[in-house]
Symmetry: C2
């Protein structure tokens, strides 16, 4: 059985390197045909079966300008791990370090899948029914319609291959359900999405319906996507805070809240999308997962598992095929 | 004491004309120097002191294409009420009818304040600390940086004049707090906002901090603004639904929830921004308020009161002054 080799940036994230090393060990216990290359400082881990430490000295921090940091620190744990994929020593890469630097090193050092216009960051978000994939959640702030069509295809491939969703329903974030609604970008994207046959386009999704769970893939440009992602976090916190204010205004309701402790806890864990693994960077030429900055050992393990499945299911090759089919269909239309 | 005359579209909204008429009567009881011109079908109200029915036969519905409806139904209750302001028979206008048609009739029939590039819809949103104004919440889906600067100024004038906020803090919705973050639109807008002196620009506001209440005016293009507005509604509902699921999973937590009934109710009324009056359409040449489609008599009364204060405080003239000052400052910079 051929091994799946995962390059792990052990120095990125708030709990690095401890949580990264622990997560890697847990992952190796679960996936017996996996091997982890650990990129980090000397002495952070004892060598053991299927775990190899590749010593690096530099670390890219969150404060650094991403592109500059990637250029100035080619020997950093993050860039070294990316290069391992580029050079074929690993098939997947996981990092909890700077999102900007990971995007930059993914695009510049690893490169894109042939035909992909712009790689995009995708994030799993919980909803009442089932989780959905938000793509692009922040990699590309200025987009063209054709980028968004590719985002829809890549997101669809991810949900199908990695989460086993049959015929994922793809929605386009817009300010109205009707085809003619929206700004220049979404109106043109809607047309292109209707014309393609590579994924199941289920139409515009209005912001109020995003949390409904009726869509498996929710497509937006990186500005709107990042807005949705961050606002979800901020609004959930604000609502909980406002509810707390009300609860603390009476003894009776405080007692009631104490009785609901389990329900609140269970609610919180349902909302905890950080534990669902990491955010895949789709469209780069390899399986790359951005783990949350505050990742615990469990989150690292889940992110490694996610990267493992991305390799195992041949996701990159399927995205390449999807891109080619979209391009061929466009050509056909141009020359009838 | 000169009267303030408010033109009310009595046929717009789910509860029209009953709630509109009732709201008008309540408003007249509170504001003794107000007069209401009621635009609607024959017989919807008995004439009384300071209340005059102006008979109209047509109604614009929510299903109609806005611009077309405004053109085809010049005698509708909405367009007639707008024309009353245009012709000086009223100083303010309130409608709970189609948002699109109100935007269209406001822009086309009433016209813009001299110098205003694009009128914008502004919405009051509750937060844990204090409510803030979101502008533009949906009128202009494709914007230029100079529009957004005017939105900031108009929002600042509104919060100062109508809600009495001293030196309102204006924030620009962006995907990072730093000046260099964002897309083309927000990066350029950030520069322009820093350069002006007409309002207090407090920098970028990240989506996760929007509900913090640290900003009095939150500026976004109409696409992002509408996204924020509608997502607030959808996410709050989804979170409450998910919490309900958890509560109903055990007897103990159901009992706890019953004890928290008052807290939940108080929480709901704090979130109920629909009752805070309506959304002012800022930048048109008159005081125009879009009341919520589901407005009750109380909501109509509040929206009328809001329009009344917009006239009373000379808001339109102050926006005109602000626009002039921004233009003069720009000219000065061009010719040093």
């Amino acid at each position: 059985m051929p091994e799946i080799v995962i390059a792990l940036d052990a120095m990125g994230g708030d709990n690095a390197p401890g949580a990264a090393v622990e997560g890697a060990i847990a992952a190796l216990e679960e996936w017996k045909d996996a091997r982890v290359l650990l990129f980090g400082q000397k002495g952070i881990a004892e060598p053991r079966e299927r775990l190899e430490l590749v010593e690096t000295t530099e670390v890219i921090t969150n404060d650094e300008a991403p592109m500059l940091a990637v250029r100035k620190k080619p020997g950093s744990s993050m860039v070294s791990a990316i290069l391992a994929v580029k050079e074929g020593r690993a098939q997947a890469m996981v990092s909890a370090g700077s999102t900007g630097a990971l995007l930059a090193s993914g695009m510049v050092r690893l490169g894109r899948i042939p035909g992909v216009e712009r790689p995009a960051l995708a994030t799993i978000i919980p909803s009442r029914k089932r989780p959905f994939l938000l793509i692009d959640s922040g990699a590309n702030v200025d987009c063209l319609p054709k980028y968004l069509v590719q985002f829809g295809m890549m997101g669809s491939v991810y949900m199908h291959r990695i989460l086993g969703v049959d015929q994922p329903r793809v929605g386009l974030v817009n300010i109205g359900a009707e085809a003619e609604k929206g700004n220049q970008l979404t109106k043109e994207t809607h047309k292109l999405m209707c014309a393609q046959e590579q994924f199941c386009f289920a139409g515009n999704v209005e912001a109020r319906d995003i949390p409904s769970g009726d869509f498996d893939v929710v497509v937006a440009d990186g500005f709107a996507g990042n807005l949705i992602l961050k606002y979800t976090e901020g609004l959930a916190q604000a609502l909980v805070g406002m509810l707390k204010d009300e609860i603390q205004s009476s003894r009776k309701s405080m007692l009631g809240a104490a009785m609901m402790k389990d329900a609140f806890q269970s609610f919180r864990s349902r909302m905890d999308y950080e534990e669902q693994g990491g955010a895949p960077l789709l469209g780069v030429n390899g399986a790359v997962v951005k783990a949350h900055g505050s990742s615990s050992a469990r989150a690292f393990k889940n992110a490694i598992g996610q990267a493992y499945r991305m390799v195992k299911t041949g996701m990159v090759a399927e995205i390449e095929k999807g891109v080619r089919e979209i391009a061929q269909a466009e050509k056909k239309e141009e020359t009838p």
